[in-house]
């Protein structure tokens, strides 16, 4: 199966750049953690049991501990490789070889996400040595499943943005816009429980809360099993139109493709 071979190769590629794989993560995670720690330390009153949006200070910090892990799993590599391959004509190889372009891209990104899951487990084990995290492994498992489902949804949304490269000269701004919207409405910047309740209800019908907020809340044990299954269901429902739209976009885009750089 080419999928197995491609997965092996992609994993090999990521592992061969292991310093970058870890450095990128550690630097981002540390910066985000330090920022969140000092920000919320100033927001919460000292020596009180105050809660904001249902989070006390400890839980808030735990939430932010998982943000970089889950962001990395869901967003995978933000390397713009899909649009770049359209611009520079590398897409041609996927038209000549009997494989699907988006299929290969999905495989590439999912390899990174799966390795990021392993990275998260290793990092959690390392943190656990110094600071007890009191995590339930079953919750961590389901949280990772939720994050991987979030990855699939985000992949389709991001790929759709990148496929606009068939029509416009630069799609960078579209990608950045999606990234910001997803992070903001997905709860990667602040927990969604800080938003007004009506807005939270509206958000539940969009795919965004299931990208970051829901997987983190599942890991922290804040989501009941029925709610968790419901969120999986919402993701799967969103996947249907996303898949159809992406296919349509790709078919139309390939008609525009001129194979530049060839």
């Amino acid at each position: 199966m080419w999928i197995r071979e491609a997965f092996k190769l992609e994993a090999k590629k990521i592992i061969s750049y292991r310093v970058d794989f870890w450095m990128q993560f550690v630097v981002t995670a540390l910066a985000e953690m330090i920022m969140a720690y000092y920000l919320w330390k100033n927001v919460f009153s000292p020596n009180s049991n105050e809660t904001i949006g249902g989070y006390d200070f400890r839980k808030m910090i735990m939430y932010y501990l998982f943000v970089p892990f889950i962001t990395r799993i869901v967003q995978s590599q933000n390397d713009w490789s899909t649009s770049r391959e359209i611009y520079d004509g590398s897409l041609t190889r996927y038209l000549i070889y009997p494989i699907s372009f988006t299929g290969y891209k999905f495989l590439q990104k999912s390899t990174f996400s799966l390795l990021s899951c392993v990275q998260m487990l290793l990092a959690l084990a390392a943190i656990q040595i110094f600071v007890p995290l009191h995590l339930d492994l079953v919750h961590v498992f389901w949280g990772m499943i939720a994050a991987l489902l979030g990855f699939v949804v985000y992949f389709y949304m991001n790929c759709m943005m990148e496929l606009f490269a068939f029509w416009v000269d630069t799609v960078w701004s579209l990608g950045v816009m999606l990234r910001f919207i997803a992070l903001f409405f997905g709860g990667a910047m602040v927990p969604l429980s800080l938003f007004p309740e009506k807005f939270q209800t509206v958000l539940k019908f969009t795919p965004f809360p299931y990208l970051f907020s829901q997987p983190i809340r599942i890991i922290l044990g804040d989501v009941s099993y029925p709610d968790m299954l419901q969120s999986f269901g919402v993701c799967l429902v969103w996947l249907v139109p996303l898949m159809l739209l992406l296919n349509l976009q790709l078919t139309k885009g390939l008609k525009q493709y001129t194979g530049v750089g060839l």
Binding site: W2, E5, I96, Y97, T258, L262
Partner: protein
Amino acid sequence: MKDHGINTAFLLLATKTYKLVIKPLAMIKVENLSKTFKVHQKAAGLKESIKSLFFRKWIEKKALDNVSFQIRPGELVGLIGANGAGKTTLVKILSGIIHSSGGQVSVLGFNPWDRKNEFRKQISLIMGQKAQLWWDLPAEDCFLLLKEIYEIPNDQYKATLKELVDALDVAHVMNIQIRRLSLGERMKMELIAALLHQPKVVFLDEPTIGLDITAQKSIRKFILEYRKRHKPIMILTSHYMEDIKKLCERILIIKNGELKYDGDLNKILDQYREDKIITVHLDPDKPTTDFEMEKSELVAKENATLKYKVAKGNEGAALTEIFRKLDVVDVKIEEDDIANIIEKLIKREPTGRGL
């Protein structure tokens, strides 16, 4: 009357034979193929840039116009034309990369831009200017991936890989990342990657571009040997006339998107080979001052070596005059260079279907 009847019968027989036997043999059939690109046009300057945000000006550029030809199994056909003539567009359409705007194309019985896997498993495209292999991976890993993509049986994969690696002499660089290989080595790897699944149709788009003479020669030699052994259809585009001369028997000349000539390379060379060059080596001990001839034109002079251009058919008279007027030590007659002839062909718009 009787003769007329025999002629008609012969004509009918020939037509039937063509329709039933020869025509179906064609593995690539192109009929009235056209391709038009829509190009966004924008004048220079900030004002025009802002204007183009709201009002875009599009122009239509005809890349191919009413092109028709057929290619039979085992043929190696050269596509010739100036930059922008439409050669690469034709290759892109035949390999299914881009859609046509009109006309019919059938490659191995498939419509290329349906991009069916059965079709893609029988073709390959080698682009001298564009790497298809994954740059971050060593060639051997790329080939393993291609083995799975093309579902090549293990034994066939091992045998084909060995044959190709030996022929191209690249065993020592198989484990080096593609990005770290020299241009010549990379091209060889691209060739292996394209031939691993033993395609029935191979598109070679400038396979020797940018390579040094040795690498060019070795690639040419490889293509010839491979073709002899496996007999795929090969369609070659190249600006290097040596490639065309050494590899192709049949050429298609394309100019401004139109097929201007389709036929035998030697035939067209004979037809357009108008001049010959006579190189004369003089005796350096017997200085001469009058080099002008009536039957030939002096085109170069360096020390005791002179070059005369003479029209086809006038060689005898020109030589007689040269021997009469000069103290000749040695003389050599050469044909006009193929590159010059092809340039003339492209400029002069030859027409013909020399098949």
